[in-house]
Amino acid sequence: MVAIRADGVEDDALAHHAISAAFAEVATVHRLMSFHAPDSDVSRLNRDAARRCVPVDWRTREVLAMAQTMHRMSEGVFDIAIGGVLAHAGALPCPAPARVDLDATAASIALDDNGVRFHDALWIDLGGIAKGYAADRAAAVLQQHGVHQGRIDAGGDLRLLGAGPHRVYLDAGGDIGPMQAALDTGEGAIATSSNEAAIRARNPLPCGVHRHGRTKEHAAPGRTVSVLADQAMVADALTKVVMALGPSAGAVLALAGATAYLREKGTWASIRDAA
């Protein structure tokens, strides 16, 4: 579910036109990056990229490039090559009869001018980054239409336009206790991710999708994390890193120029770089 809001536009027709164009862009990103749709760029890559170079849309390329950057920055904790592991665990459907190497990493992905090539047999899943990217693209389309204030809520990934301040309440699921956490912020992005039982229960998947990219271990249970960054794509990807690393994610956040708040055992704390 995606909600888009445009503010500060005098002409209603213009605002509606901008919002429609932004929704169309979100749909395009979804179509390109779906793990499930057989004709998406992701499915074409998972089927063929281990055998030959596969041309992709420029948007898919942008996401893959950022995914590689996040993979390097997080020293492998964020890894879109987790698709094979998730499919084998039943969280994603197994695509095609293609062979998959469950130990392959995003380091085996090569981007060049002609397209994308995998040096190992791997299945990528952009579920940890594409939703944030869709919010970024929707924001860019709104701006192209002259809308400079608003918000795009891509279900957990929030992209805020305009100086605000925007107040965002953080949903940790279940009993929040006597205090509600909130952020007051300007232009930028906030992504929130959780494996709290109450949040997990809203999700039909048979197992958790939060895994450490290197160890493939499940993230510690009962964590909720909110990451602030300039781009929703970056914030989205970093929630997976903080889910996996917990309080020791500070160094990665500092590298990415992001901030995070982590809730464990009912208490919120900001994550700082220990170095």
Partner: protein
Amino acid sequence: MDHRFLLLPVAALVAVAPAQATQYLSADQARALIFPSLAMTAQDITLTPEQARAVEKASGASIVSPSMKAWRATTGELFIVDEVLGKHEYITYAVGFDASGGVKGLEILTYNESYGDQIRNPAWRAQFTGKHDDAPLVLDKDIQNISSATLSCKHITEGVRRLLAVRKVALGHD
């Protein structure tokens, strides 16, 4: 990214909810907009159960509260403040009737939701001007819809229909 992390007491949040509440006009301001410099006396309306049923039957709109704030002029003008449900929250609105019972003006007093407030648009509200209790007042027929504010439009339209019936039933006007 510049930001501030806040922990807000939940009790206080409940007390200030809804966060989007916007009061645009007080009842007196709305009355002055519709009836500039007309002397009116506060005289609230409370419908009896029979009257409430008659209003619901005549207007096809259910009564939110049988009591509503009203002001009357000796020359026959009437001003009523009422509430309708928007999408999730109540909208407070007011309708002024001229001496013949026609709608003279519609004003939105408070609006509590973050979307749908296009009903404040003067051109949309002007569609009600001159309507009497014989007008159908049906969305997409004699009242145009606003696509992103359908529920607010529909409920305000029903509200005006209801107040036309209140005027007729409670005050015995024809």
